[in-house]
């Protein structure tokens, strides 16, 4: 079956909406902090509340969104609910952006220290 290369160049507006929605999930600092806290393995909600300093309700809501999107997975164990990264791609994305931002800022900073 012929497999066209999937390039952003030819995507329907509807497809772009899905892509945008995905980016939107990553466009919130608190959610990035949650993902960061889950980088080394699964954590339960209480641990994530402590790690981020946010309220429990807020953490739960963000976790729910990330879970619905398939970025996280849930595992219930007795009274606790453990979340974990289901899609490591998010780290690839973050790393790409990070690296680029850092390079950009260093280039700009260099203008002050020639």
């Amino acid at each position: 079956m012929p497999r066209k290369k999937l390039s952003p160049a030819d995507l329907s507006p509807q497809a772009l909406e899905l892509v945008a929605a995905r980016f939107k999930l990553l466009a919130e600092p608190m959610r990035l902090r949650l993902l960061q806290a889950l980088h080394d393995g699964e954590r339960n909600v209480t641990q994530l509340v402590e790690a981020t300093g946010a309220t429990q309700a807020n953490v739960s809501k963000h976790l729910g969104l990330l879970c619905d999107a398939g970025i996280l997975r849930r595992r219930k164990d007795g009274m606790h609910v453990f979340y974990a990264i289901a899609d490591p791609m998010v780290f690839e994305l973050c790393t790409l952006v990070c690296t680029r931002l850092q390079a950009d800022l260093q280039r700009k900073a260099a203008h002050f220290a020639p």
Copy 2:
């Protein structure tokens, strides 16, 4: 000079804000359409208005945001202003997300056609 690997695992909350801001720029379908329209080279505002079907004011605003962020660059030529991709990384990001979304949806769709 020792160069630590830049991993999302150890980023200050402030850094995460910058990363989130970057994602936020890509989290809008109209902006993705503009980037898409610029994929094959620079275009002026009028061309982008035609390509996207949006109003001129709206297009201008989005272009301004993308430009401020360093994702686009501007070139003024007489009466026209040409925009172009300044940071092709955006396409890497989109491709990553696209590919993943597609795989995800096809996997889900397969549940209906065994």
